[in-house]
Symmetry: C2
Subunit: 336 residues, 2 copies
DNA sequence: TTGTATGCGTTATCAC
DNA sequence: GTGATAACGCATACAA
């Protein structure tokens, strides 16, 4: 059995409250008593029971990281970074995966409601549903949203400027001489996809290139979906000369399909993919990508959450980060 | 503020203990009272406080998943699978990353010691240190080791048969006509690396191929390390005709270095890599790999842990899983 | 500076 | 079948 605070009090011959104060570096403890207590604690390898501490102090030093999907390498990168930041501040993270199911999200929300965690970071996901909205009204619920837009956003959020990302991609492709640029976006038609499409259209307009609605392909977020969409496109006969793929896994599938079809990148089709991960860099040819600022997304979100927890931040904050365009072989024009 | 069990008791006009029994499906509650209580709980969106429950019942329904490194895609895959299995059984997972630091491992162990989690799964890592060993003597500590060997192993473990994996790779390469097969293994010289080297030597012996000690290259587990080791090999002049790389990231770096050097796979060097992940399958050429049984590693380890927690398993269990060899282009011989 | 008392929300052990 | 009541381990307001 693990030694408890009470045991230490008994051994040291002092009251439990004194031990508690000493252990938590709180004022009001004599130097000598404190030293004695710390010594006993160390000798007996004392570990505070976080459950009891959480129950009494309403602070658990744990945060929930709630993922809409664990498949995206980018999301995993964000989690890694958050874990690192959290560890440095003495926080533990609970990893939750909703698989885009609203039901699960609701159930994970109860981690917050039942004070099991001090806060939660939601990464990705669709529109903010009613359950989340309700939660937002509760001042105790410390929530930060990452890459999740909402019509009415009451949450502190860290966002990627998807519009700007697509804009950069279009601009680059047009400069390379491409005129029939297809956009492969998500199909759930939330604000994020609208942003991408908006960026796409406005960038084309700016460049004086005609927008063709039939070059916009809403697609699921999966490797297979990226594969299939290319086959569909070929079948339909609306042949683009370049692709902008705005999701990580879809990008991989798309490239595979193009190569499988006997076509060459970028000679037959230029490709701008999504996510500066190890995959897009080792694939042949190396992919030009819209690169999400994963590190910053992580550090901002954790920092914001910490501020929320410590109540040093009263009102909602929104940070919008601009993705980079990393140019590699897959988008270098044959026209040059 | 969240509604509590006490509130429900007040509303229903019964004792707290009755509410607790009703909510937990325990016998000793009248049908009608139970129904009434359940109704009130539902109406008020009652969520039990898991901290209090954990404190009182000494069961938290949380397990710790402690990773030696978050960089390996394979490890992440295992985590994903565990998360899935855990979720199905009503368990939450706490994700911890030790970065191969024994200090951190020790600190995460306190999650167990302080009853914050019901059990822990350790994925990867070096030898079992003294702190872990000490923990093994405590009967309350429910611990399962994944891919972690120890001289004296007192833990329930799920292991990959690395020796067999390398054996399969060697056999395949020899059949393809390769005679100078280099082995790139880890450098920490624990039992796992010894196993790999053992499998390598015995497979060569079986095949009647001379073992050359200078073809064994202990290397760090990192992409850059894989890159560097190839440069070193070329510099040294001990030129192999095939590589077996036994770690995921090292494999990627190795392949990049070979291609960067202007060599062709498999014509100049055949490659058998490690880990059937998305990277090794999209890289050019698609890599023959020793494929870790990630799904099984995850399901066995969680299952074992569950049994330990429920005390249906008294003695230590060890499950050894055999990796598959997935043959793709990178190891198909020029000699054919 | 130190000790006492109470509470955090739940489960468990008794009685009745 | 139901209800007090005591834990669980810790933090904190208040008293001394």
């Amino acid at each position: 059995m693990q030694i408890t605070l009470k045991d230490i009090a008994r051994i040291a011959g002092v009251a439990e409250s004194t031990v508690s104060r000493a252990l938590n570096d709180k004022p009001g403890v004599g130097r000598d008593t404190k030293l004695k207590i710390l010594k006993i604690a160390k000798e007996n390898n004392y570990r505070p029971n976080q459950l009891a501490r959480g129950l009494a102090a309403k602070q658990t030093n744990m945060i929930a990281v709630i993922l809409s999907e664990m498949e995206s390498p980018g999301n995993i990168e964000i989690v890694k970074s958050i874990e690192k930041a959290a560890e440095a501040k003495g926080y533990q993270i609970i990893l939750c995966n909703t698989n885009n199911q609203e039901e699960k999200e609701k159930s994970y929300l109860s981690l917050l409601e039942s004070n099991q965690v001090d806060g939660a970071i939601f990464i990705g996901g669709k529109l903010v549903g009613s359950h989340l909205l309700r939660a937002s009204f509760s001042p105790e619920n410390n929530i930060v949203l990452v890459n999740r837009l909402a019509e009415e956003n009451f949450f502190t959020s860290v966002l990627t400027d998807y519009s700007k990302g697509v804009d950069k991609a279009v601009k680059h492709l047009v400069e390379q001489g491409f005129q029939n640029i297809a956009l492969i976006c998500g199909q759930q038609m939330d604000l994020i996809e609208e942003e991408k499409i908006g960026g796409y259209k406005s960038a084309l307009n700016k460049a004086g290139v005609e927008v063709k609605q039939e070059l916009i392909f809403p697609t699921k977020s999966a490797r297979q979906a990226g594969y299939n969409v290319f086959l569909d496109i070929i079948k339909k006969g609306v042949i683009p000369d370049a692709f902008i793929s705005t999701r990580e896994l879809t990008t991989i599938g798309l490239v595979e399909a193009i190569k499988m079809g006997g076509y060459f990148i970028p000679d037959d089709f230029a490709v701008v993919g999504y996510g500066n991960n190890i995959i897009t860099s080792v694939i042949e040819p190396p992919l030009t990508v819209i690169s999400e600022p994963v590190e910053k997304l992580a550090s901002y979100s954790f920092e914001f959450l910490l501020k929320l927890i410590n109540e040093k931040m009263n009102d909602q904050q929104i940070e919008v980060l601009t993705p980079e365009l990393i140019i590699r072989e897959s988008s270098i024009s044959k026209y040059n």
